[in-house]
């Protein structure tokens, strides 16, 4: 099977071309040992199958970021039979840079001038034949959003593979040879031939190791671009300036308000998408429980096992589907924002605030999504292009109380401290969330973000595009399917373990209760009774299980069933009264802080692991949040003791 590598700068329409080319025959994962997404797919043309590798988008082939390193390493591996270089026709002056950076590699190439429609609308005429003649490789104009053009693309790819053509390196080197400040010929003679790089390219790479050389080299590459474009591109007019919407959208204050407004709208749209799916999720336990229970009873299945099947499994399905519904909705809404080009504006206006956390503007979207569901925030971090900053964003997402926590905590607070108290607790939560994010950033940023990556914003603000629905829907569905499979497995496993521990096997209390009684003296130091501590632990599985567990432990009911039957986070009147009788105010205050800043639910942790594949950093993050939440609990409990 022949392999085609897709190479292109961000915003060149690479992912939409990849989707159009491979359709549903694609596999999304991570590059081995890396936090960067690996996309691979296949397509068939005239009975022959071709493999397509979507290399991570970057502005050049310099090995600066993790993305660029992956791209460079892949090219050096020689696995690609053809490199298809994608450029934005409406911004050729800049986007051809990737092409000039590629010149000198001994891999056959095809140049795809994408977004020809946008170029035309901007009054830019590109003479494709002239360009092809100048460059000596096949060149084609293309519109990735137009499905009718893919037949022609496949044909071009196939013919570029059967008659491979490489770019003549002298096209570029003549500018280096003419430069008197560098002795290029001598540098070329020092190189050894062989491998993927021509001697000349190896010399250029050597040159670029010094600051002066890099600057000269960059200049020469753009000289070549200018020269190529002078003869093959005609521009009718030049537009420089902001359109009316951007004047507001990028304004100093108005920009933030517009961005917040659009994000709120996006979240609302996400809920519209998510609601029907979540509705199905809610129905599952109700629909499945009684038939399964009847089946188990008629088969005389051992009670604990029967309970596991008719209580735990339907509820696990319900949790997973509800979460996936929400994640799907949020992913969809934010994919639209990214696709139309607005995401870059959001990053721009929130850049200063995010820099304070060692991040970049794009992280703000993840954080806002997390207020609904942490898992959505984790999935949303994909838009962040620096691996280190993405990782840090995910860790900071864990600080943010999700929708469930945001409804549980004020409810508990209202029981103990009344409505005014609940409001104060909410304010306190907000302040501590900011503090927690800052603290976590201080602790983790240095290790996660390499010095080279911690630089300020260097970003292109792409022109606005019409959303490419087909591509967005395909990406969203693929992601949702992936999340569902993984989340279901993880949550089932964790639930099984929790069930084993919490079920009353011998009739004299579960393992959980046994352990709880033993560790009670320790947990009381943190301001928690052992029942509360067990509820705290169960909130790491799902936040929703919290009230059920605490209720069951205090009323000696079946903990396992109570924990999993937590369909609503509602609270019965009797329970509120009971809680006030068994839990003191200082304990309650400490407990609320503990559950709000506890490690997020298992699904979020699993989703984070799925994104970054680092056991070490997940473990460290879990430990950090455990320590942080217990410390908060301890502090607020002791403060509470002074007050009451």
């Amino acid at each position: 099977m022949k392999t085609i590598a897709l190479l292109g700068q961000p915003n060149s329409g690479k992912s939409s071309l990849f989707n159009g080319l491979t359709g549903s025959h694609q596999h999304v994962g991570n590059w081995p040992g890396k936090t960067v997404e690996h996309k691979e797919g296949t397509f068939t043309y005239q009975g022959e199958q071709y493999r397509v590798i979507d290399l991570p988008g970057s502005y050049s082939l310099a090995a600066g970021s993790e993305e660029e390193m992956i791209t460079t390493e892949y090219m050096e591996s020689g696995k690609a039979d053809l490199v298809a270089i994608l450029v934005d026709s409406s911004q050729l002056e800049r986007s051809l840079y990737m092409f000039t950076d590629f010149i000198g590699m001994n891999i056959p190439a095809l140049l795809i001038l994408n977004l020809m429609d946008v170029a035309k609308a901007k009054g830019i005429q590109v003479d494709v034949d002239k360009l092809q003649e100048k460059l000596g490789i096949p060149v084609m104009g293309f519109v990735a959003a137009d499905m009718k053009q893919y037949g022609r693309l496949k044909e071009q790819i196939a013919s570029a593979i059967t008659t491979p053509q490489c770019v003549d390196v002298s096209l570029l080197t003549k500018y280096y040879e003419a430069d008197e400040s560098i002795s290029f010929d001598a540098l070329v003679d020092q190189q050894e031939s062989g491998g993927i790089y021509s001697k000349e390219k190896a010399a250029i790479r050597d040159l670029e190791k010094s600051e002066k050389g890099l600057k000269q080299s960059g200049k020469h590459k753009y000289e070549l671009i200018d020269q190529i474009l002078k003869e093959s591109v005609h521009k009718e007019r030049v537009e420089n300036g902001l359109n009316r919407f951007d004047k507001w959208a990028l304004g100093k204050h108005s920009g933030k308000w517009i961005a917040l407004g659009i994000i709120v709208l996006a979240l609302a749209a996400a809920m519209v998408v998510a609601m029907p799916i979540m509705g199905i999720g809610v129905m599952i336990p109700a629909v499945l429980e009684s038939p399964l229970r009847a089946l188990m009873t008629s088969l005389h299945v051992w009670k604990p096992l029967a309970e596991f099947i008719y209580v735990v499994i339907p509820n696990v399905l319900f949790f997973t589907i509800s979460m996936v519904g929400f994640v799907l909705g949020v992913t969809f809404a934010f994919a639209v924002i990214e696709d139309i080009g607005y995401m870059a504006r959001i990053s721009f206006v929130f850049n200063a605030a995010m820099e304070w956390l060692g991040l970049q503007g794009k992280s703000v979207c993840s954080f806002l999504m997390s207020l609904g569901c942490n898992m959505a925030g984790i999935a949303g971090s994909r838009v962040i292009d620096s691996a280190g900053q993405r990782f840090l964003t995910m860790i900071l997402v864990w600080s943010i109380p999700c929708g469930t926590t945001l409804s549980l905590a004020p409810m508990l607070a209202a029981i103990f401290f009344g409505p005014a108290g609940a409001f104060l607790v909410l304010v306190l939560m907000f302040v501590i969330t900011i503090g927690s994010m800052f603290l976590a950033s201080k602790i983790f940023a240095k290790q996660l973000i390499r010095v080279e990556e911690s630089q300020g914003m260097v970003m292109e603000l792409p022109p606005y595009h019409k959303p490419k629905w087909r591509c967005i829907i395909r990406t969203t569905l693929n992601k949702a399917k992936d999340i569902f499979c993984r989340a279901f497995k993880v949550i089932l496993l964790v639930s099984f373990v929790f069930y084993l521990l919490s079920s009353d096997w011998m009739g004299n209390g579960s393992i959980l209760v046994g352990i709880g009684r033993v560790i009670a003296p320790v947990t009381e130091f943190f301001g928690m009774t052992w029942q509360m501590f067990m509820a705290y632990l169960s909130s790491m599985v799902t936040k929703e299980s919290l009230l059920g567990v605490i209720n069951a432990l205090y009323s000696n009911a079946d903990v396992a069933v109570a924990a999993f039957n937590a369909k609503s986070v509602g609270l019965s009147e009797g329970m509120g009264q009971m809680l006030q009788e068994v839990i003191t105010k200082p304990q309650a205050l400490g407990f609320i802080m503990a559950i709000v800043f506890n490690v997020p639910c298992t699904m979020t942790v699993a989703a984070t692991f799925r994104e970054n594949h680092s056991k070490k950093w997940i473990a460290l993050s879990v430990i950090y949040y455990l320590v942080f939440s217990l410390a908060l609990s301890c502090i607020f409990y002791h403060i509470g003791l002074l007050i009451w």
């Binding site: 700068q9 970057s58 502005y59 050049s60 310099a62 600066g64 409406s90 911004q91 050729l92 002056e93 800049r94 840079y97 950076d101 670029e208 190791k209 600051e211 890099l214 600057k215 960059g218 200049k219 590459k221 753009y222 030049v238 420089n240 300036g241 902001l242 990028l250 100093k252 870059a344 721009f348 206006v349 850049n351 200063a352 820099e355 080279e452 630089q455 300020g456 914003m457 260097v458 970003m459 292109e460 603000l461 022109p463």
Partner: protein, 76 residues
């Protein structure tokens, strides 16, 4: 004049860029080399600077703009 100090509407040619290798390669990758034409679109305190360069609108952090020197061509 430093790009960091250029007001909106200022148009000029880049005459010097400075920074470490990583920053330089990022700048070059996005189109900023000696000789590039830049026209400043927006420069508010506390925000990255917005400018046109090689047909694209670029946002670049203030700190990095301090190392970019412009030679004035004409004022619009």
């Amino acid at each position: 004049m430093r790009l960091a100090d250029a007001k909106a509407g200022y148009t000029g040619k880049v005459c010097e860029i400075s920074g470490n290798l990583h920053l330089l390669s990022r700048l070059i990758g996005i189109g900023i080399v000696e000789g590039s034409d830049i026209s400043v679109v927006q420069n508010y305190k506390g925000q990255p600077i917005l400018f046109y360069c090689k047909d694209s609108m670029i946002a670049l952090s203030r700190k990095d703009c301090e190392g970019i020197l412009l030679e004035e061509e004409q004022k619009i």
